[in-house]
């Protein structure tokens, strides 16, 4: 069949066969009649088979044409499915569904989104707890997620641990200079159910400093700020720019309190993985 674009010519043949008229077929195809008629002729020449009967009353199918018409229709339908599927792949590729934990600052989220956008795909961001994000990636509802480490990530693939510098947020005027000064305050932090392993690690790290705070649930920086400004709690933030009235930002040292995050995915292009991890890394504490 060299020299003949088979699918294009089959489209002409099917249109003429279905319309029973060259002129109507040309209208349907948005063409003029001569190229339609010449195209079908070229197909017949190449195949060495006459497909259509041309009489004064109109156009009919030869026995060969009748037998080959359903096959031609099927080929065209399959070709359409083929391009549709390719389209879907292209669209999936053009959009990256990223999940992030609420502890990740707006600043870091922007770094990730900006990095991915520069690499090509559009980004859709979902904010949810680590447990929910892992579930969504496993279910295929997200392409990847930046989760709070340590977490139960089985059976997902995971990248290296990125440590983001954090500071303590304390009620203004308390003059907090050491961990002991936090003793009478509650801890405003994500509920334990968001990720038991990370919550327990934070509490163990505080206990190692002689503290055993009660927990005020605060999933986001906004909720943490509200709880701390109210006076009875301290919290942690990984947002380098967070300042607010009624709140002092203090650095007490202790790298164990830095926010550890990690990218998890089920199937993700290495290129995009590098982009997301790179965006986190370049603002990370190393």
């Amino acid at each position: 069949m060299s020299g003949v674009d088979l699918l294009r010519h089959l489209r002409l043949f099917v249109a003429v066969a279905e319309e029973g008229h060259f002129g109507h077929a040309a209208d349907r195809l948005g063409m003029t009649q001569p190229p339609v008629s010449q195209g079908v002729r070229r197909l017949e020449d190449k195949l060495g088979v006459t497909l259509l009967t041309r009489t004064a009353r109109g156009v009919g199918l030869t026995a060969a044409g009748a037998e080959l018409l359903p096959r031609a229709t099927a080929l065209l339908a399959d070709a359409r499915r083929f391009t549709d599927d390719a389209e879907r792949h292209r669209e999936a590729h053009a959009e990256l569904r990223v999940g992030v934990v609420p502890q990740l600052s707006a600043w870091h989220v922007a770094a990730v989104v900006d990095g991915v956008r520069r690499a090509g795909p559009r980004v859709v961001t979902t904010v949810a707890s680590t447990v929910e994000l892992v579930g969504a990636v496993v279910a295929g509802q997200l392409d990847c997620a930046v989760v709070h480490h340590p977490a139960l990530v089985h059976p997902l693939e995971c990248g290296s641990v990125v440590r983001l510098s954090t500071d303590f947020l304390v009620p203004a005027g308390l003059a907090v200079r050491r961990f002991g000064h936090l003793r009478d305050l509650a801890l405003a932090a994500a509920p334990r159910s968001h990720n038991t392993a990370a919550a327990d690690l934070l509490l163990d790290s505080l206990r190692a400093k002689g503290l055993d705070p009660s927990l005020v649930p605060a999933a986001t920086d906004r909720e943490t700020v509200a709880a701390v400004a109210a006076g009875g709690a301290f919290g942690l933030t990984a947002d380098p720019g967070l300042r607010a009235p009624g709140i002092d930002r203090v650095s007490l040292g202790g790298e164990e309190f830095h926010l550890r995050v990690r990218l998890v995915w089920r199937a993700l292009e290495p290129r995009l993985r590098d982009v997301v991890e790179g965006a986190l890394e370049c603002h990370a504490d190393r």
Binding site: H149, P150, A151, L152, V153, H154, C158, S160, V161, R163, T196, A197, A198, D200, L201, D204, E255, E256, R260, R262
Partner: protein
Amino acid sequence: MRTDDEIRAVFRDAGATGWVHATPISGPRREVAVGADESVVMASVYKLPLLVALCRRFAGGTLDPRAPVRVHPPSSSPGPTGVAAFLDPVTLSWRDLAASMITVSDNAAADVILGEVGLDAVRATIAECGLIGTTVVGGQADTEAALVRETGATSAAEAFALLADNDAALTVSAYDPAFASATTARDMTRLLSLIWSDAAGTAEQCAFMRRLLGLQIWPHRVRSGFPYAGVGIAGKTGTIGAIRNEVAVVTFPGETPVAVAVFTFAARADAALPAVDAAIGRAAWLAVTALRSGDLRR
């Protein structure tokens, strides 16, 4: 809630993934299974099939259990317990080496025994016991050599420190059942059932194995789920990095003993995670309670 769902919830709360199989050692087949046929890393649980292989040598008359063995600790596998913790050479019998290997998970004793018995004999024992999901690829010395190599550390101690670092979250072959000595929870309850029914060797050797397992000293895992007077716990733990295991037989007075195998992998890298140890005890309690032969009806 179903027992297996309760067990999953216990592990989730403790921040670990868990695999469990429990079954009475005799009678009609009843079981509790959570990922019971999935491949899991054994860690020191490999000392159990090694013990069975050693006892077969005793029974076959090719190794005298009372023969003296000279062990030079500094040139053996390091470890926190038994001969591995000693500084000076000691001489003890094969059966006492076995006692140290099982009761306190002595790494040096296990390596000496593995050197004598050989991997082939351990594999033959595994095959004869019908443990189709179990492969032993080496002892503690081999595991540590691989760890040092993969972590780029200069010593086993340094490698273990890296393994316990939450910032590192290392992926090492010691964590991968495809590369490490591996088994399934179901295989291990099968092996325990064979030992408890005198089918893993001669009756005399099985009694010897049951005695050693009953003398194991650790109270933090399966035993923590059964802190009751009169309940017998005979088991073997296994620990490496985030992996914490124990396989045990739980015997309530006058009831059919229940074999239970619990394997875990923690999200946190910390060397000490009492919450996960306790979760192993709780999971074992849930599984065994569902299978007890005694009159538990309300």
